[in-house]
């Protein structure tokens, strides 16, 4: 076990201190932060300018600023606030609307002045405020004490919303998150898996493997490498996920994210680990077949093709997570490593489906590790031309 630890520690210390690793981590984290702020930058205004004039300006202003629009979306509109400007008379308010200085004006508490209409959200806000004011007035006119009126109105809860179909906006947001999950998983898997292959080839091509294998068992050398590079990969994943979540809450996108996004992120970590273990075991085995860096392409290519295939299928089915293809492949290793988190992000899977798929993938990981260790053990000290896969399996 000590050998395993030493090998893993070396990978972490040596690879983790390279500029390449640190720079790529910073760039990925920066990219995720930009991604989190993007809706904010591209989304609609988060402040509406509304003018008031004539009578009832105080009550209508108070009502306008207290209305909370509650339709969740990815565009950031839910954070919209209303900025009130008072105008001395109706003419001034009209002029301001015409000039585009304000989005709309409410005159005498019952007339809305717009320049060709307003967005549905602002219209909803103003309408709600107007009805609030109007109903308080009506109730006051019926001789109810004003504080009782406002108390009664304040205790009215928001309407309970249930959808028989999918919330279109939320489905869009979920698809976007599913795609991000797939892209994220792919790149986070690709890097460390390639490092495993390259590391194995480096040791074999420099013949250092001869010295290593006189003090280490092959499984310690391969296992330590997979663990060490896995730890680096995990740090990378955690930094990026943390940067993404922090940026999402800083940019105010967080409350717009569909419920369960955090658990999606956590589950994605688990899928990443299973996927990494599977692909890394194969990468180590394939890397051990060649003695020269130049030969690495021929042996690693099938593995990268497989990873790209998983990636593309998962990406293209993110829009149709309930299709037969998506559902079937979400149980088939190694596709499941990307398909199931994708489906999970779209919110269309039950917990037991995830557990079942994870168990199948975990079994495949055990198989891949056993197979990888077997090939590695037989091929890693055979120098010279490329070792044929079948020879390594039989040999």
């Amino acid at each position: 076990m000590n050998g395993l630890f030493l090998v893993a520690r070396r990978e972490v210390l040596v690879r983790g201190r390279t500029k390449g690793y640190l720079i790529s981590m910073l760039i990925s984290a920066a990219a995720v932060v930009v991604l989190a702020f993007l809706p904010k930058l591209l989304g609609g205004p988060d402040e509406y300018k509304v003018g008031v004039a004539g009578t009832d300006t105080a009550v209508i202003s108070q009502a306008l600023t207290s209305v909370k629009p509650s339709s969740p979306s990815l565009t950031g509109d839910a954070q919209a606030t209303v900025k009130i400007t008072e105008f001395p008379d109706e003419a001034a308010a009209r002029a301001a609307v015409a000039d585009g200085e304000i989005d709309a004006a409410v005159v005498n508490g019952d007339t809305l002045i717009t320049d060709g209409g307003v967005s549905s959200e602002l219209s909803l806000i103003i309408d709600t405020a107007y009805k609030q004011v109007a109903s308080s007035k009506a109730l006051a006119a019926a001789n109810l004490p004003p504080d009782q009126v406002s108390q009664a109105l304040a205790s009215v809860p928001d309407i309970r919303q249930e959808s028989v179909g999918e919330d279109a906006e939320e489905a869009g947001a979920r698809q976007a998150i599913a795609s991000i999950v797939v892209i994220f998983l792919f790149f986070m898997l690709m890097y460390p898996v390639m490092f495993v292959a390259m590391g194995v080839i480096e040791e074999k091509s420099s013949r250092i493997v001869e010295i290593l294998l006189s003090t280490l068992r092959p499984w310690q050398l391969l296992g330590g490498k997979i663990i060490g590079l896995g730890i680096l990969g995990l740090i990378n994943v955690l930094v990026i996920a943390a940067a993404g979540l922090a940026a999402a809450s800083a940019s105010g996108v967080m409350p717009d994210l569909p419920p369960g996004t955090i658990s999606t992120v956590v589950a994605t970590l688990g899928w990443w680990m299973l996927g990494y273990a599977f692909f890394a075991a194969l990468a180590g085995a394939l890397g051990s077949l060649v003695s020269r860096q130049e030969d690495s392409n021929s042996t690693i290519t099938p593995l990268t093709m497989l990873m790209i295939a998983c990636y593309l299928v998962a990406l293209f089915t993110a829009g149709t997570p309930k299709s037969t293809l998506a559902v079937t492949l979400s149980y088939v290793p190694p596709f499941s490593a990307m398909m199931m988190p994708m489906r999970s992000a779209t919110g269309s899977v039950e917990w037991w489906e995830q557990v079942l798929s994870a168990l199948i993938l975990a079994a495949a990981v055990v198989g891949a590790l056993a197979l990888g260790a077997r090939i590695y053990r037989r091929a890693v000290w055979r120098m010279g031309s490329r070792v044929k896969l079948m020879e390594a399996l039989k040999g």
Binding site: R10, L13, I208, E210, I211, S214, T215, L216, R217
Partner: protein, 291 residues
């Protein structure tokens, strides 16, 4: 004591080793010589467990050599192996730890060896930035960092400048003096002759001669009388017992069983300025043994 006993290894049709047998005693410096492709590297790789023999075994202190024994060996493979992008002090210490040293001890030992090998100021450099000769010193440090009980070195002297050769020879002699058996291969036969207690000559996978240099001289080498006689008539030695096999700058090289008769003949022929046995060099022994 390390015993190599009856090693056989074939690659398909080609027989690489055909019953290689020899012993390296405690505190013995064993020079392993042979032409390229004769089987030196294959033998050493089998001894290090990097390769499995088809038959035969390697024993250490009487028992079959196992993984745990080899962890206490120091090994320098033929094709040098170092991580190109790892700092040399860290790299040496890493191998020390792999061989079972505690972290602090491995670091200390790495620093000591770098000091000893004149690389202390390069401790933080990457291996790929060193000259080949300096990389070889690092390689030696890697083989020695854990105070190995046996040293197996494949061509440790190749590519070294004369000063580095002396350093390497000193270090090996020192380990040797501490009782460590040292097995190394080399094509530099003068060097092997100078520093080795025992020599093994391998040709086509077979050991053709094994023993101390003195033993090999007696067994394998032909020795000649070298006789120089001033103003001697041409052909003065023709009638003497033995055969004239060469002429070394005026002195005759005579192969004979009766040195006294040759001496008497030489005295008769003129003023004898040189008379003595010329011992065969290892180069000559080697040429004859593999011929």
């Amino acid at each position: 004591m390390m015993e190599i006993d009856g090693l056989r290894k074939s690659y398909g049709e080609k027989v690489a080793l055909d019953g290689v047998t020899f012993t390296v005693g405690s505190g013995e410096m064993f020079g392993f010589v042979g032409a390229n492709g004769a089987g030196k590297t294959t033998t050493m790789r089998i001894a290090m467990g990097v390769l499995e023999p088809d038959a035969g075994e390697v024993r250490f202190d009487g028992h079959r050599l196992g993984f745990a024994d080899r962890r206490r060996f120091g090994y320098m493979p033929e094709e040098r192996g170092l991580y190109p992008k790892m700092k040399i002090a860290e790299q040496i210490a890493y191998f020390g730890e792999l061989h079972g040293l505690a972290t602090a001890k491995a670091r200390k030992s790495a620093a000591d060896w770098l000091e000893r090998l004149g690389l202390a100021d390069r401790a933080g450099d990457h291996v790929q930035d060193l000259s080949l000769g300096n990389q070889q010193r690092v390689q030696l440090a890697v083989a020695l960092v854990h105070e190995p009980e046996v040293l197996i070195l494949d061509e440790p002297f190749s590519g070294l400048d004369p000063i580095a050769v002396d350093t390497m020879a000193d270090v090996l002699a020192e380990r040797n003096a501490a009782g460590v058996p040292v097995l190394f291969s080399s094509h530099q036969l003068e060097l092997v002759e100078r520093i080795c207690d025992a020599v093994g000559i391998i040709a086509d996978g077979r050991m053709v001669a094994v023993g101390s240099v003195g033993e090999l001289r007696r067994k394998e080498g032909r020795r000649f009388l070298k006789v120089a006689v001033e103003d001697a008539p041409t052909g003065w030695a023709d009638a003497l017992p033995g055969k004239v096999v060469g002429n070394d700058d005026g002195a005759l090289l005579i192969e004979t069983d009766d040195d006294q008769a040759v001496l008497a003949g030489a005295v008769k022929a003129g003023r004898v300025t040189h008379f003595g046995w010329q011992e065969p060099t290892l180069v000559e022994i080697f040429r004859e043994a593999v011929a």
